[in-house]
């Protein structure tokens, strides 16, 4: 136990990374082996992520399972410092789950299979890294590492779609996604440098987030400077979180991406952005965060409504889900921006919940696309008759996404609204927050509109003859989808195991405000 505690965090990054490197040396001609190997690695990381989550002692709070490895000394002071807190622990678990699901679903990849898993595991390692490091350099390192494989994953294994009036090739989707995310990271990088400099002015030249956080809390960072730095983080990380108007990479990326990549993309990658805003923006530049939160809450609201309204008139299933992700990430941003314990905790829970939910969506859309080779909801119909399990799960995912109680999304969204309604306790933007909360609720209603339209149009009813050949989900797909549904329900009914972990760290985080 002691030994595992010491190594768990290191291993959870190392395992997928080493898996990725080892997979490079596997034979290209035996794709099945690569799949089995990837499952093995993913299972190890899943086990580790569960261990980490369970092991997190919510009564103690703070960062746990911490380790630090020296990397570069003063004046840079970069160390590979690891640690999880209540905000990252659920996200680590989320990534473990989604990575496992993604690897399983990737069974259908037949082309350059080995390379696919090499990249997918590297992606997983990057995401784990971001969630567990306590050093700005390594945070940025893993952040970019998570972005990097996306280009090839989408570009090589993706699909191009002709929408009649416009064309979305996989090259375009991949290129845009990559450029967009790296553009965001440009801002982050500049922000990190600025933060390092400002801390250096105070005699604390370091990239160590713990030290920087202490410095910020002691009032060591000039508030004016923080106000300049925070927007860099807000937009930089916001790009990855799908912050309006920097969101278009996301739906287009989904449309181009293969199923398991979409799962990771929407399931965890977008969470990195929101996590970054919390972990870097709010924790290290609290005064800046406080100053800019009215803007963020406004943008979050725009996200919610804009995403939902856009989703309403989309025909392609992946566009619908993609825009719906934009909309749902709006709740996360909104929750963060409330600066209220309930709102922020809701945002974190929403990250988890949306991760599972949207991954489920993509599993199902992928299953449909694999069989029908089309994702146009105007052409597909009556799927319930042909693909009962898929449709059933889709309906459940849809209900979860419109915030139906009993599913995790409700708890999270409700907490976000609650936070928004109370956030004036600390800040002077009551009308803003009330409006945001109110419009957020409206957004949930709009979600109902497009989800139900979709269900009615595409899944219910009689099927055309051309869909007679469709078969229901494979056992692997059923298993993954079922597991996701189960998680949605369990968290929706009994969120306490998650919330008690999240609450403790959110409270610590918000002490700075």
């Amino acid at each position: 136990m002691q030994a595992l505690d010491q190594a768990a965090l290191f291993l959870i990054v190392l395992a997928p990374l080493a898996g990725s490197l080892l997979a490079m040396f596997m034979s290209r001609d035996r794709p099945k082996d690569a799949w089995y190997f990837a499952i093995l690695v993913a299972a190890v990381t899943l086990a580790l992520s569960i261990y980490i989550f369970v092991r997190y002692d919510y009564t103690a709070g703070g960062y746990q399972l911490s380790r630090s490895f020296g990397w570069l000394g003063a004046p840079l002071d970069i160390n590979l410092s690891l640690g999880v807190d209540g905000i990252s622990a659920p996200l680590v678990l989320l990534n473990g789950i989604i990575l496992m699901g993604g690897v399983l679903i990737a069974q259908t990849i037949k082309h350059r299979t080995r390379d696919f898993f090499v990249l997918l595991l590297a992606l997983g390692a990057g995401v784990f890294g971001v969630f567990i490091v306590r050093d700005l350099f390594f945070l940025f390192f893993f952040y970019e590492l998570a972005v990097l494989p996306m280009y090839l994953l989408i570009g090589v294994w993706g699909s191009s779609t002709d929408f009649g009036t416009f064309l979305r090739t996989k090259e375009y989707g991949a290129m845009k996604l990559m450029l967009y995310l790296v553009a965001g990271s440009v801002l982050i990088w500049i922000g990190i440098l600025a933060l390092y400099l400002e801390a250096g002015q105070q005699g604390v030249s370091t990239f160590d987030m713990a030290k920087l956080s202490d410095l910020a809390r002691d009032g060591g960072l000039d508030p004016t400077v923080q106000r300049w730095i925070f927007p860099l983080f807000m937009i930089g990380f916001g790009v990855l979180a799908g912050l309006w108007p920097f969101h278009t990479w996301s739906p287009d990326g989904h449309v181009a991406a293969p199923t398991s990549v979409s799962m990771l993309h929407a399931g965890v990658l977008m969470k990195l952005g929101a996590y970054g805003i919390i972990r870097v923006g709010m924790d290290l530049t609290p005064a800046g965060a406080e100053f800019w939160m009215p803007v963020l809450i406004g943008l979050g609201t725009v996200n919610v409504l804009y995403g939902a309204i856009s989703a309403m008139s989309q025909g392609d299933l992946k566009y619908v889900i993609g825009y719906s992700s934009v909309s749902h990430m709006g709740y996360v941003l909104m929750g963060i921006a409330t600066l209220h314990p309930i709102g922020v905790a809701g945002a974190v829970l929403q990250m988890f919940s949306h991760g599972i939910m949207t991954a489920l969506f993509f599993v199902l859309v992928g299953a449909i696309y694999d069989r029908a080779h089309i994702r146009d909801s105007h052409i597909l119909n009556g799927l319930f008759k042909r693909m009962g399990v898929v449709s059933f799960c889709f309906a459940i995912a849809g209900l979860a996404s419109l915030g139906l109680p009993g599913f995790s999304g409700f708890i999270a969204e409700f907490m976000v609204f609650t936070g928004a309604f109370q956030s004036d306790v600390r800040l002077g933007f009551v009308p803003m927050a009330l409006l945001a909360g109110g419009l957020g609720v409206v957004g949930a209603a709009i979600t109902a509109v497009y989800i139900l339209r979709l269900l009615a149009r595409t899944f219910f009813g009689e099927a055309d003859r051309q869909w007679a050949h469709l078969t229901d989900a494979s056992p692997v797909e059923k298993g993954v989808a079922g597991a996701f549904v189960l998680i949605l329900v369990v968290v929706g009914v009994w969120p306490e195991p998650f919330l008690r972990v999240i609450n403790v760290s959110v409270a610590t985080l918000l002490e700075a405000f």
Partner: protein, 641 residues
């Protein structure tokens, strides 16, 4: 009494079992659902007796200052939002309040649900998704019972949404029919619009109270410390939710369409229980509404408008189930009106009486539909002979709702009218009486046309029309008894029972009060209406043709349901979807193509343009170097000088 938590939980447990293993269970899982609800009904009696035995000294129980009634609270921790112990965190619990209001609803819901589920055994026999049907029923029952028992607004909202979802699933049960799909979607979305208000109202209250607990909110309102504006705003917002669920104008459009679902579902969800949840909500939050005052007025107006509008439409509708649906809307409006007038007891009494009667009517209609496979009353007639039991029970229900004395509806409606006459401006009572008259008229119409009128010549039934089988008949009989006799509980009977008003009241126990002039007037109106109906539809001695001709335009407006559906459709097609398409186009053309591709393309074009400076001529390279050298030298010199 604490065992009451089992009532919803049993059904909750039944749901997944039926979903996953229904096919392997005997009877497709139906016995499990029925068993669960039957146990719930039994437990209701346990809870009722426990409550009646309780005093303010009993553990968990105390007299609620805001409502003036005894209430018992039981809680289990659910989850904490925010770190426990901090001032702005909130601990949420699974909690139930057992008080007269909850018990009354509990009894009605368990009973009607039980009846309907039994009835469905016959009605849904042979359906390919029989198990799924019962699973949904179980889930619905669980959610509805949770709604009734909930002690916090949040839990209420949870249940509220879940019943909506069950309604959605059950309306869309026959999803192969496009109309059913559309109706399900419409029902969910329209109620969801109202729910936006409900959730906002709840959140607004939370903001004021700092807790989702109803008791806490009521106490704050009762003590007068709640801001008046917040009370008004949040109660109006909650009213929106109630209007959505209870199909009040202008959210009423979903309910008639919801008749696309199986008829027992209509009986249970869209007549007796779920649609009453709106009224229940207003009653539950009555302390806040009353504190606001203005909100109560809004409730009254909404109720009156709805009642009037729906009853006129019911008169012109030709679909049997839709007549009943509009009737439901109208009666829900009356209940709202009563609440708005402060007639708390009257509203709830009417809710219960209407619930039994309307369930009965729907089950009767279901029986008719089941055997004739026909919904249009113009194609029916004279069914009295073929299905006497159904005819009897249906007439009982219709007369009860029409306000024929002694039957349950008469008493409850009179209570309502009495409350309205006491609590509100005279205009209200006049219009309420009009509604009562209309209500009797359309009930008479439905009853006489279907069962007593002449059988349409053109209709030849391919298979013989038969009366309801036992599984369907037994529940109807039981409900018929209630529809007939339920009104009797309103009296002060000798002994300890002081009538419903002594049990279910707000602040002050109420005795039975009967306003004589109103009673007589309404009796006259009801009897006249039925007599008129008899003359018109059975005897055919009166003709409405002249009336129809002279008021043709007005009638057309009513027949087209005041164009509310068209208005909705127009808004959706011409505003919402157009806006959505605009946003989608904006997203692609402006946000993506201009703001995203634009800089990217500009950078590339800039690169293409800039590369021209490398001309390939060695002398121009040298020239640039020379100029650069001169410039650098000048700058270098200038900076240091």
């Amino acid at each position: 009494m604490e065992l009451a938590w089992l009532i919803p939980v049993l059904s909750f447990i039944a749901f997944p079992i039926i979903v996953f293993w229904g096919k392997r269970l005997p009877g497709g899982g139906a016995p499990l659902a029925i068993g669960a609800i039957a146990a719930g009904f039994a437990l209701f009696w346990v809870a009722l007796l426990g409550f009646l035995a309780a005093t303010p000294d009993t553990e968990h129980c105390l007299t609620d200052a805001a409502t003036g009634t005894l209430a018992c609270n039981f809680q289990r921790a659910w989850f904490n939002a925010g770190l426990p112990g901090l001032p702005d965190s909130v601990a949420l619990s699974w909690g139930m309040t057992i008080d007269p209001l909850a018990l009354a609803m509990l009894g009605m819901v368990t009973l009607v649900a039980l009846m309907v589920q039994i009835y469905s055994l016959g009605y849904m026999k042979g359906d390919p998704h029989f198990g799924w049907y019962y699973a949904c029923h179980a889930l619905f029952a669980a959610a509805m019972l949770t709604l009734v028992l909930a002690d916090s607004f949040l839990l209420l909202y949870v249940a509220w949404e879940l019943v909506g979802a069950c309604s959605y699933l059950l309306i869309g049960f026959w999803h192969e029919r496009p109309a059913a799909r559309e109706a399900a979607k419409k029902a969910f979305i329209v109620t969801r619009l109202g729910d936006v208000g409900l959730l906002l109202g709840i959140l607004l209250l939370w903001r004021e109270v700092g807790s989702f607990s109803m008791t806490a909110a009521f106490e704050l309102a009762h003590s007068g410390e709640m801001s008046h504006g917040v009370a008004t705003a949040s109660s109006l917002l909650m009213l929106l939710g109630a209007m959505g669920k209870s199909a009040q104008f202008p959210f009423h459009v979903w309910l008639p369409d919801a008749m696309e679902g199986p008829t027992p579902v209509s009986a249970l969800i869209h007549a007796a229980t779920m649609v009453a949840a709106g009224v229940y909500l207003v009653a539950r939050a009555f302390p806040i509404f009353q504190y606001s005052g203005d909100a109560l007025m809004a409730v009254a107006i909404v109720g009156l408008v709805t009642a009037l509008m729906a009853s006129t439409i019911a008169l012109t509708s030709t679909d049997l189930k839709r007549i009943l649906a509009y009737s439901t809307i109208s009666h829900l409006g009356l209940m709202m009106l009563s609440l708005g007038a402060g007639g708390y007891t009257a509203a709830l009494f009417h809710l219960l009486a209407h619930g039994f009667s309307k369930a009965l009517l729907f089950l009767g209609a279901g029986s008719v539909l089941h055997s004739t496979e026909q919904q249009d009353i113009r194609h029916m007639g004279g069914l009295r002979k073929a299905m006497p039991l159904t005819a009897l029970l249906f007439s009982l229900g219709a007369m009860s709702l029409g306000g024929i004395p002694i039957l349950a509806g008469f008493w409850s409606k009179d209570e309502v009218l009495s409350a309205v006459s006491h609590g509100l401006h005279p205009v209200f009572i006049v219009l309420a009486l009009v509604t009562a008259l209309l209500s009797a008229l359309y009930m008479a119409r439905a009853m006489f046309v279907v069962f007593f009128g002449p059988s349409p010549e053109s209709e030849h039934h391919d298979h013989p029309v038969h009366d309801a089988p036992l599984a369907m008949a037994a529940p109807m009989v039981l409900l018929g008894v209630l529809a007939a006799g339920f009104g009797l509980i309103s009296f002060n009977w000798p002994g300890s029972f002081g009538g419903i008003g002594s049990f279910l009241f707000y602040h002050e126990p109420e005795g039975f009060h009967f306003t004589w002039w109103l009673g007589i007037l309404s009796t006259i109106l009801a009897v006249a209406a039925f007599a008129f109906g008899y003359l018109v539809y059975v005897r055919k001695s009166l003709s409405l043709e002249g009336f129809r001709r002279s008021f043709a335009p007005a009638i057309r407006v009513v027949e087209r349901k005041y164009y509310v559906d068209e208005l909705y459709q127009w808004v959706v097609d011409r505003v919402v979807m157009v806006f959505s398409r605009f946003i989608a186009l904006f997203d692609r053309a402006v946000v993506n193509d201009v703001l995203v591709n634009g800089p990217a393309n500009s950078a590339r074009r800039l690169g293409v343009a800039m590369r021209l400076h490398v001309t390939g001529h060695v002398y121009s390279y040298a020239l640039v170097m020379a100029l650069g050298a001169a410039a650098l030298a000048i700058l270098w010199w200038w900076r240091v000088a």
